[in-house]
């Protein structure tokens, strides 16, 4: 039951990061769910963009792949990878939504390898478009279930650059944006001087629960907000989406 509440909190809270009329580059999984929720609630005019080339996408069911039929159907335009990554590189994408296998205190993402790159303990799928989105979107938001083994002080491999290390390393590399927030099922973290800090907790979780299992001292905002719940219409939209099988549609 707690897992269900956390999944719902995560999707609903992440959807609020996307504002109406914004352009949003969307990854598969939790990011798609959050973006679809935003379209169905407070951001009906948001422009969802997928790396397969779909622009103004409005999938009816959660997609399994950025190239799935439900992404193509109901889209405003089907371009190609160059079209959408070109928009991204040109600075015309407001927000990226990303998830990963591991994320660290500076918002760096790992979707490449657990263990050493040359001698992997577990080999993962690799960047796909994640590195590009993290490097080139005007800002990005990280969606991550509250699983302490995946929320670490330092990722094994920086696939997609967050704030790198504290300081202006990111700007020095000529990158714009960076992670603006990290959302878990228990709370919202923002980044201060490049490091994540807890700024909001979602009912029924306390500050301690939002930090449970994290192995470094995570800063907590003095005026940490306590969100008692989400809009009933958004909860309904989540329930309708969550009932749908992911896939073709």
């Amino acid at each position: 039951m707690t897992a269900d509440i956390e999944s719902r909190n995560l999707a609903l809270a992440a959807s609020l990061e996307l504002s109406d009329d914004e352009t949003c580059f969307v990854g598969i999984g939790l990011p798609s769910l959050a973006a679809m929720l935003a379209k169905r609630t407070h951001a009906p005019r948001a422009h969802l963009i997928f790396e397969s080339g779909a622009i103004g996408a409005d999938p009816r069911v959660p997609p399994l792949s950025t190239g799935s039929p439900c992404i193509a159907e109901n889209a405003a335009m089907l371009g190609d990878c160059l079209d959408v990554f070109g928009e991204l590189q040109a600075g015309r994408i407001d927000l990226g939504l990303l998830s990963a296998a591991q994320v660290d205190r500076f918002g760096n993402l790992n979707s490449t390898v657990i263990g050493d790159y040359e001698a992997p303990r577990l080999r993962l799928v690799g960047s796909g478009g994640a590195h590009d989105i993290a490097s080139l979107a005007n800002r990005f938001v990280i969606l991550m279930p509250h699983e302490p083994r995946r929320l670490v002080p330092k990722v094994d491999f920086v696939t997609s650059p967050g704030h790198l290390l504290v300081g202006d390393e990111r700007a020095a590399a000529g990158l714009r944006g960076g992670p603006s927030a990290l959302i878990t099922g228990r709370g919202r973290f923002s980044f201060r001087c490049g490091e994540m800090a807890l700024v909001e907790v979602f009912a029924p979780f306390s500050v301690d629960e939002a930090l449970e299992g994290l192995t470094w001292p995570v800063p907590v905002d003095e005026a940490v907000m306590r969100r008692s719940g989400f809009a009933p219409a958004a909860i309904d939209a989540y329930a309708r989406l969550e009932r749908l099988p992911a896939g073709t549609g």
């Binding site: 790396e51 190239g67 371009g79 190609d80 990878c81 590189q89």
Partner: protein
């Protein structure tokens, strides 16, 4: 151009050791061509595409692949690519890892005949450290530092599409991804299509043509050639097969049994389709939403 059989096209145009671009970004994945390559026992191939899905995993399991140049390898929305993971952990596969954007740029450079293109990606994080071919260049106009990625021209491309005329003008609509960039960067193109249509239909909608006849090396009519992926306007994605592949590819023995039954154990695509559960058959061809006249 006379259409040929897929077996003949693969025999003639896919050499051991070749660099092969595999088209299909989730849509129109050329499974029939890939399976024919496995059946013919091609060896030491370098496969390239941005988002590599389970067809690439099957080619690795089939013993055809020495090297990958890719942005992603997995079973989209489901999980990891198990044959890929095992081969990498065993050290029997060389991996050259890019991002989906920067690899598309490499194809684009190859396609438009320039030796490299600049990008703002691959400037930070751990990925640049593991790519031997990267260079940093200074913009001659602004002085900004950019990454240079080298052009890539694969030896041969595999593309599946909706239709072509007898001359070999190939029409593809729906999701493209990197398919046309990769194909047009390649020296040869093997195109499989759902159907051949009269030239006047192609010429009534020339905006749908993505590969002009003079670039197409071999044309093969292979209905159902993209299953279990899909063909926009013809048949939908067979998601259950991707989930089933996740289960059966976890153990090498099960994966070998799958290849024995569905690849080595069939002569061609028609025989492959004949072995599918009847519920999977969403052809013959229909022109529903996304269809074109």
């Amino acid at each position: 151009m006379a259409a040929t059989t897929l077996a003949q096209a693969v025999r003639d145009h896919v050499d051991d050791g070749a660099t092969v671009f595999v088209g299909g970004f989730g849509h129109c994945v050329p499974f029939a061509s890939g399976h024919e390559i496995i059946r013919q026992g091609k060896r030491n191939l370098t496969l390239t595409r941005t988002g590599a899905d389970i067809l690439i995993d099957q080619l690795i399991a089939g013993g055809c692949v020495a090297r990958l140049i890719v942005g992603y390898v997995g079973n989209p929305g489901i999980g990891l690519a198990h044959a890929f993971r095992r081969a990498l952990e065993a050290g029997s596969l060389t991996l050259e890892e890019w991002t989906n954007f920067t690899l598309t740029l490499r194809f684009h450079a190859g396609r438009i005949g320039v030796p490299f293109l600049p990008t703002r990606a691959l400037r930070a994080g751990d990925m640049p450290k593991h790519i031997a071919d990267l260079a940093t260049l200074t913009c001659p106009y602004t002085g900004a530092l950019l990454t240079a990625v080298p052009g890539l021209c694969p030896d041969v491309a595999l593309v599946h599409a909706q239709r072509a005329d007898e001359d070999g003008n190939v029409q593809l609509w729906g999701i493209d991804g990197d398919t046309c960039e990769g194909a047009l960067a390649s020296r040869r193109i093997i195109a499989t299509v759902e159907e051949i249509v009269p030239a006047e239909r192609v010429r009534r909608s020339p905006e749908l043509t993505v590969l002009p006849a003079h670039r197409v090396t071999a044309l093969c009519v292979v209905p159902g050639g993209a299953h279990p992926s899909y063909v926009h306007g013809y048949y939908t994605r067979d998601d259950a097969r991707f989930a089933e592949y996740d289960r059966l590819s976890r153990r090498p023995d099960d994966l070998d049994a799958f290849l024995a039954a569905h690849v080595h154990g069939v002569a061609d695509r028609e025989a492959y389709l004949g072995k599918l559960p009847i519920s999977d058959l969403s052809w013959p061809v229909h022109h529903g939403p996304g269809g074109r006249q």
